[in-house]
């Protein structure tokens, strides 16, 4: 069955929900699909169930504030289909998805991809061992299940998220064995010129960050300038080795290590659709090329939220509203002048919401070994291809690109479809071939970009397949 809507939104996080509310106010017929069973995205995950419980206090105000957006979304009149996996988007635009083992297609006047971000793949020796998880994963576990590590945990990383999680964990009664700050030595000096803009635009957020840092330095073992980490163990992590920039090395007992090296926009859907992308050198990642309304190079396909570049929840909500305005303009509901007038205050607020970003991007720029790890490190988790394996093929004549490396080594061919190794392979090739990463590019993304069974595929009507 092919359905038709004015606007299909993929993702019910800050951007998707805000866009849905705005688009409904413009009178558009809106369908929102999302992978999760409840709205909120990753940042406000499970918020309706958590609000009013002691967990709300642990997670903090920036989390509970999301309830307002979720309630407005619920009341907006947008159709909402949770637990849905989108696995292909085609020009038209037409979106193919699976829900409850049934595949269907939706033709939409416009599609808004509000698919957010993922944590940057941060390979190091031993990162595939049970006991190594991302900080974001551990935070999701508090939000969805009210669970914390049952023994002192090690945290290694750089950025606001590990600071926030560590403080939340202490509030929840958890224990931290040690905090390994992998922010590179000298980054504070590089970021300093951007501090004034950040402090002026987002003074409360900056103050919050400084307080988190002060709390951790006072209450847990805090080790700065960590340049190298390794998880050691056989069936699971048993020990953690770390090295600091000054050459100090220590191996400690550790069964759980949480890591984080920033976020990168979700680009699988726009890559699959063949949208043009732009390299963002401040965030060491790609994002789809967008016009001032968030429209990609594919007619009628828009992107809002962290998928458009990492900016956080406030910026995501505003980008969602701006995209909805652009979509209403394109649908002929409002004219150019009205759209420009409606968007002006949103754009001003967006600029303010993004004011701390240049400072954060500069301060928390990951160390080089995150991009080009040591030879023994696993690059592709699914197919277990290590960095040396990729390098060996890169040495072939003809400067192979990511797609050749995929064919030669199977890196990127596993179930995650390159979500965890695309940047690593591109960076290794750039390093080995004396090129820049954006010159190397990423794997070609092929449908279906989320797995589905043949049985599910067969539930599509023949008319859908056309």
């Amino acid at each position: 069955m092919t359905r038709r809507v004015d606007l299909l939104i993929v993702g019910a996080g800050p951007a998707g929900m805000s866009a849905a509310v705005a688009a409904r106010q413009y009178g558009l017929d809106v369908l929102v699909v999302d992978e999760q069973p409840v709205p909120g995205g990753q940042i406000w995950r499970n918020i309706e169930a958590v609000c009013g419980t002691p967990r709300e206090k642990i997670l903090g105000k920036a989390y509970s504030e999301g309830l307002w957006t979720v309630r407005r979304f619920r009341a907006s009149g947008a159709a909402y289909e949770p637990a849905t996996q989108v696995w292909q988007i085609e020009p038209g635009p037409r979106v193919l998805m699976t829900r409850d083992k049934i595949a269907s297609s939706v033709e939409a006047g416009a599609v808004l991809l509000a698919t957010g971000a993922q944590e940057r793949p941060a390979p190091f020796p031993g990162w595939t061992l049970p006991g190594v998880m991302t900080v974001g994963a551990a935070q999701i576990v508090i939000k969805t299940a009210g669970q914390i590590p049952d023994e002192p945990v090690w945290i290694a990383g750089s950025g606001p998220l590990p600071l926030l999680y560590a403080v939340q964990l202490l509030k929840a009664g958890g224990r931290i064995a040690g905090y390994l700050d992998t922010t590179q030595k000298g980054r504070w000096m590089s970021a300093l010129p951007r501090f004034a803009t950040a402090a002026a635009g987002a003074p409360l957020d900056m103050l919050k960050g400084i307080l988190w840092l002060a709390t951790l330095r006072r209450r847990v073992r805090y080790i700065s300038n960590v340049s190298e980490i390794e998880a050691i163990g056989d069936n699971a992590m048993e020990r953690l080795r770390y090295v600091t920039a000054s050459g100090k090395s220590e191996t400690v007992y550790a069964r759980l290590l949480l890591v984080h090296e920033g976020l990168v926009p979700t680009i699988h859907p726009t890559l699959a659709l063949g949208c043009t992308h732009q390299w963002n050198s401040d965030q060491d990642s790609y994002a789809a090329d967008l016009d001032c309304w968030g429209e990609t190079s594919q007619n009628g396909v828009f992107v809002a939220g962290d998928g458009a570049g990492i900016g956080g929840a406030k910026a995501a909500c505003l980008r969602g509203e701006i995209a909805a305005t652009g979509i209403a303009l394109k649908a002929g509901v409002i004219d150019d002048q009205q759209a420009a007038r409606l968007a002006r205050p949103l754009r001003a607020r967006l600029a303010r919401a993004l004011s701390a970003r240049p400072f954060l991007d500069s301060l928390y720029r990951p160390r080089r070994s995150i991009f080009v790890p040591s030879d023994e490190t696993v690059a592709c988790r699914c197919e277990e291809v290590n960095v040396a394996g990729v390098r060996a093929e890169a040495a072939r004549a003809g400067r192979p690109g990511p797609n050749q490396i995929k064919a030669f080594t199977r890196a990127g061919m596993g179930p995650c479809q390159g979500r965890q190794c695309n940047y690593t392979v591109a960076n290794i090739l750039a390093d080995a071939e004396g090129r820049e990463t954006p010159d190397v590019g990423l794997y070609r993304v092929r449908p279906p970009f989320k797995p589905l069974t043949l049985r599910e595929l067969a539930t599509l009507d023949s008319r859908d397949a056309g």
């Binding site: 967990r55 993922q118 006991g131 299940a145 669970q147 069964r255 277990e384």
Partner: protein, 97 residues
């Protein structure tokens, strides 16, 4: 490896992990249940048969793949329900089963 910070919910459900009944709460997913088990792993890999555990918890790493009611799925995207069976996936899957 993980523990609940709140008292058990009065409306808990029962799921089976490799045949053993365990308590779970509505709203959580199969991966968070697996993270509470004594042994931290959800599958062995098809390539080297090494153990893996949930890594990203948001549907992008596919390391939490296991059999839920007989189908290989991302357990972090599988909300629990009463009577659900969760089995660790061992190595490569065979087609004929």
């Amino acid at each position: 490896m993980f523990k609940k910070i709140h008292d058990p919910s009065p409306n808990s459900v029962t799921v089976h992990v490799d045949g053993m009944p365990v308590c779970a709460e509505p709203g959580e997913n199969a991966a968070t249940v697996l993270l509470r088990q004594a042994e931290l792993w959800v599958r062995t890999t098809p390539v080297s048969e090494k153990r893996r555990a949930p890594y990203c918890m948001m549907g992008v790493c596919f390391d939490c793949l296991a059999l839920v009611d007989g189908a290989l799925v991302q357990t972090c995207l599988a909300p629990v329900r009463d009577g659900m069976t969760i089995e660790r996936q061992l190595g490569r899957r065979s087609v004929a089963s």
